[in-house]
Symmetry: D2
Subunit: 250 residues, 4 copies
């Protein structure tokens, strides 16, 4: 550990950066429906005729509830949702722990990154209490919010200034980007099926009524909530059954 | 090894069975296109704008060829094809070795199976020559075909007769079915994306011009060929690139 | 559906076959321990020092129970068990639905299969009652057991006779084997980690005290029970926690 | 885009940070051997006797070369290596794209991170030429190295100062850490089998003699090289065959 050289700080000027709190999820493609679950499940007992099944909501809902309760998961895999997510890197890292998903992400090796960085908005609980594994998050004061915003922008601006300085000197993008914070916004294509989405939702939402309560970071929960509302719209009976049975992925 | 009791044979009568050579694949659902590959790939360099890309076939084909040649596989995962396959059990077993697919199959525990069994048709090469790992398959004589058909129907009929006898006596389906041959037809829902399909095609088709020549059993190749023609129709530029670069899955 | 030709039956003679009820599982290789779970988990909070942790059973058991209860599954993946399983094909098919396992199986394309076939032993419940999804299995009479054994040996003998007849005539193994029953014994190398094993056990054992009661076929449960006793021996604290928290894979 | 508030810079003092170029990989557990590949492969043709096979290196090497050349990959899965990797976050992100691996990582939500950050050493090529997908990396001048070191330490120090400021004010770790750069060192437990390792090596090393030349970032290649030397030591005949056949994962 040594004293390291630094560039002279330009505290009040410097690169323009955008502080952003919004995390967005857009459904860009899909083929997903409740009847599709029924058709896949019915191949067990109806064989070749299964995929021509036309059934009313009572039948569909009943079979789906049975599958969910009994944790017969495979019929929920024959469908598809692709989301475009714009979120800070630390949130995308949480998403990418899920290995049954497909991902393509914006590359800091192949393009210049934009100066857009995450800061928590005024609703975000800023402080933690309790022990690891049992944290409680509680609101910060107005001063806490100011501190976070100021600290963040100070660090982001220094980072982006040095990033640009290196790019200007012809340093490779893949090295210049190493100074950028994990709060830097990135964009990712993310594809899953209903079963892998339910698994993701179980781990990445905090719901007191869940059979297994999870404690995700709030930012990835914001991603999960937006995905969940698309899922509930496309597959309402599947989503209702998922809710009824404790949000345990089948 | 002991002499085991047998039921008296009823050689010339017995259960009606169907001998079938046809193996069918039907595309029942999908969301798959060449432009989808481009959009997923372009997120690397275009970020959020990627999914609104509209491009001509020249651009699409060029980018897809680049991805295929360089084995950048992930952009080929954001799509979806569901097939309904009717094939003998030994062929479905070959399919189910592929672990990135989703499957739901007709259940011999929950339904009575029908008396439909596979026999090779007159084009099927019947004989093997050479060592394991280097088999050559060559045509059989007319007598060979007769032998196979007669042997098959003898065994299938005995099996189905005993299956029915056990069901009639109230034996559980899951036990009665154990006598049925691996030639028994079954039905499966099978879902994959273009990347996992190309991997499947690489292993389950025999093409002399492939970079890595594979030696699948002919029956699963019949499944693969039908899937390949749907794939080529839905994603013609991806399929053309796959062909151009030696049928190696990216 | 037509009357099909059959070979004249030779009811009382014919090929020697072995009827077998025993299903065996042997642990052939492994690297699995409770302390390994702790080390992997502790990387979260101890970083580089995690893998040198030495802890007593109280600490290990406590942390493992916490991970199990909270469904933190990934620390249970850094270990390895390889089993050699000898079981009928229909049971191996149940095993091969599990896509996070690795498998290599005896090949009916590359070797002649032996005449060993499954029959239920005298303890096996033979009859089913109730509706699909809610079957109850109940004992058969002595006559039922005789019927099953006789039906099975009749079908197996006919199948093996025709299999041999085709091999003798030079028909390719991959075609001759199509007449063999799903009760034919096969051998498989099967590798998993503790997390994927717990998922397998949850689905492939029937335990009234499980949070999610499953209804596997008895034969694959026999495989699962043998694997479970090896697992309990190698990772006793992990197994105890799995039992305590309702046999839900974390 | 607005002018954002910043904390007054303390350019020459501030937190002590460590600049590190070393990326380390330690093999912490394993069960991997060439004979294990042979045993798994031989189950195809030797059935139950396969796992007792004792063979000389000629036989082992010959069979492994055959499997590699023919891309029979599954026999390479029945083994296991766990590595402890200490590397910057941007490198760990490259590792975590590999979905057949198991990972546990140091958590910035549950522990305070240390002030250790990556800088390229004097051998690292600093500059890129050419188009995306076809970059060439070339050496930087001594001034370039100085620039990178100074820019990096400026940004890292600003980031770590703000990180500490937020922690001191009681801000939650998961929020304070958002200012830290992707160059921050992290530690990960990473487990794979030989097949998934070969796939990783194919994509994460740059070898002119590979059938499919890949262009990974140098830092993840340093991880890959260290893993490769452990792999070559544990499974010398497998590694030799991998090299002989163009470093294409089977």
């Amino acid at each position: 550990m040594t004293v390291t050289p630094v560039h002279p700080a330009e505290a009040t000027t410097g690169p323009e950066i955008e502080l952003r709190s919004r995390i967005t999820v857009e459904l860009v493609d899909h083929a997903a429906s409740d009847i599709g679950v029924v058709r896949a499940a019915r191949v067990s007992t109806a064989g070749e005729r299964a995929h021509r099944e036309e059934r009313g909501d009572d039948y569909i809902g009943g079979l789906i509830r049975y599958l969910m309760r009994s944790r017969h998961g495979s019929p929920f895999e024959h469908n598809y949702m692709t989301f475009l997510v714009n979120a800070p890197i630390f949130t995308i890292r949480h998403m990418m722990r899920h290995r049954t998903w497909s991902f393509n992400e914006e590359s800091a090796r192949y393009k210049d990154l934009e100066s857009v960085f995450y800061v928590p908005d005024s609703d975000r609980l800023l402080k933690q209490e309790g022990k690891p594994g049992h944290y409680q998050y509680v609101p910060g004061t107005e001063e806490d919010h100011e501190l976070v915003t100021t600290s963040a922008s100070t660090a982001y601006r220094a980072a982006f200034r040095e990033y640009q300085r290196m790019l200007d000197a012809g340093i490779a993008r893949e090295l210049a980007r190493t100074v950028l914070p994990v709060a830097t916004y990135s964009t990712v294509y993310a594809t899953c099926n209903a079963r892998s989405l339910m698994h993701f939702l179980s781990l990445r939402t905090n719901r007191a009524d869940a059979t297994y309560v999870s404690h995700p970071q709030r930012e990835v929960e914001i991603v999960a909530e937006q995905m969940e509302s698309e899922f509930a719209r496309l597959m309402p009976l599947t989503h209702a059954a998922y809710e009824s049975y404790g949000r345990v992925s089948p």
